[in-house]
Symmetry: C2
Subunit: 351 residues, 2 copies
């Protein structure tokens, strides 16, 4: 059986309160007493029982991160960023994957593990604006990530989708592209990454006086590599002409590049390509992929900080809760080979 406070107290010849004080770094303990306690702790290999502490304090030191799937590199990298931010603040992260359908997302949100965490970072995927009210029912601090829900009662951290995609499109225009495919639209969507990003594309074309060709706006329901590949196959089959692609995420871009290369199209000479997300692998693809770096580490840090603030606000329970905050992170265009047409470029491999 593991040692308890009482065991330590007995061995050190003090009361459990004193041991507790030492453990929790309370100020007023005489140095020699403290030393005796520390010695007893070491001798017994004592470790506080977290369940008991949680029960008593009402806090677990864990937050949950709800994401669709770790096999999706975007979310694996996000999870890594979040775990780093959390561990720097003394928190552990319980990752919960959800199936992508509305029911599964709701059931995880309401799920039993709820009781085991102090708060939730929720990367919204299947729920939408119409579900904003549902979130109020979850009796736990929560910070939203992503572009599906705005103006709820919860704090929200998101990237500059429109601005980012506008910058990407402007970049292609600047290197001479005129028939630019927007890859990844969700017809009819206004809010959500796809709607916002499409808007950035349209803004850029508009500002440059380049007419919009509906055939260049290519639908892709899901944004995995296989979807980018499939979309590119139909584009090629349809015989649509194009000289640039702004993909709504990196995976779509990578899938499309794969098919273009099979078809003998050269990147960036025949078609320039830019993605969105700055996945690690964009540095290693052939060619390396230009992309928008959406400030993911900043998203993770900000979100963890906001969640922690909400948790502490709730613990002190003094005034009424602060107004929900909306944070937009900074993005950055990263130019790599897939949009570098200059003949005399030094040809760094990007590795």
């Amino acid at each position: 059986m593991a040692a308890t406070l009482h065991d330590v107290a007995r061995v050190a010849g003090v009361s459990i309160k004193t041991v507790s004080n030492v453990i929790n770094d309370y100020p007023h303990v005489r140095p020699e007493t403290k030393e005796r306690v520390l010695a007893a702790i070491a001798e017994l290999g004592y470790r506080p029982n977290l369940s008991a502490r949680n029960l008593r304090s009402g806090r677990t030191g864990m937050i949950s991160l709800i994401i669709p799937n770790l096999r999706n590199p975007y979310f694996a990298e996000l999870a890594d960023d979040v775990m780093n931010a959390a561990s720097a603040r003394g928190l552990s992260v319980l990752i919960e994957q959800v199936g992508g359908d509305r029911e599964s997302e709701l059931s995880v949100l309401r799920g039993s593990r709820r009781q085991a965490v102090d708060g939730i970072l929720y990367s919204v995927l299947a729920l939408g604006q119409e579900d904003a009210a549902v979130l109020d029912e979850i009796p736990l601090p929560m910070v939203l990530l992503g572009e599906r829900i705005f103006n709820s009662s919860r704090d929200h951290v998101t990237m500059r989708n429109e601005d980012g995609l506008r910058a990407a499109t402007e970049h292609l225009l600047a290197i001479g592209c005129r028939r630019i495919i927007a890859l990844g639209s969700h017809p009819g969507e206004v809010i959500g990454s796809a709607g916002l990003r499409l808007d950035g594309y349209l803004q850029a074309l508009d500002a440059a006086g380049v007419p919009v060709d509906e055939r260049l706006i290519v639908h892709a329901d899901r944004w995995h590599r296989v979807d980018g590949a499939a979309a590119m196959r139909s584009i090629l089959a349809a015989g649509t002409e194009f000289d640039g692609i702004v993909a709504f995420n990196d995976s779509l871009a990578l899938g499309a590049m794969r098919i273009m290369q099979e078809a003998g199209l050269r990147i960036p000479q025949d078609v320039a390509v830019i993605g969105f997300d700055d996945l690690d692998e964009t540095r290693y693809s052939v060619p390396t992929l230009s992309t928008i770096e959406p400030g993911r580490p900043q998203i993770a840090e900000t979100a963890v900080d906001m969640l922690l603030a909400r948790i502490e606000e709730r613990a002190s329970a003094e005034s009424s809760p602060a107004e929900p905050r909306e944070v937009l992170t900074d993005f950055r265009l990263v130019q790599r080979e897939s949009t570098t047409r200059a003949a005399g470029a030094p040809g760094s491999s990007g590795l």
Copy 2:
């Protein structure tokens, strides 16, 4: 304040024991009583307090998975497999990333979160055979993954490294390669993935009567894409001739392919390439990458089952613990474009 057992009991007009019985699906509860209790639970939105349950029962329903890094796709896919296996068995997974150095691995193993989980799945990376004894000190059920430690007192699940790499090498020999690079060796290592895989390579050459050329055994300390790329650059710089590559993992293979393509080498015509791990992305690279599928889902399921068995064994605490078990999973060679030289092949894109 959230509802407690007592609240439910009061509303239902029964004692808390009865409520507890209903919640835990104990058999002997009269149907009508049960219904009253269920109604009260629904009315109050009662959810059991997990901290209290954990404190009482000594179990948390969580296991921790210790891995180096989620950004490494191998571990992201492993984590996904483990989470699926765990959630099918009613367990949650706490992922803990470790830095890769010995100290950080030890401190996580001994770390405070220990108290918050019922058991540990530990993918050994920085520790080695000489640390087998250290593992005994961790007072928690544990199952080891990977190839760094054998014959400890812990259960262990691992893949068939030698056999897999032998099969990969034999495959290259079968399609006509004679100067095959083994990419990823760790000089001097005997146990560990690198040592075992090199052994498989040597066995295959030996069996085929192909002489070993030391220049074809290429060192790579770490196994990320960038390391494969760097290694390939030095190979090309050294002017070593080769017509096949068996990489010790997929990332090395993908990095090497990138550099070969820059250098104008055609895959598989000039050089056939095979990797190890069957990462998702091997299906989407250019060309698609042949590889060894090491049975990762099976590893995850087996490991979770074994851990659960240990947890239960400890709970019942009857007889002495069962002998440590060693499980080897089945592998499978997956042939894709990177080793398919047949001229008239249909050229499926593998997507």
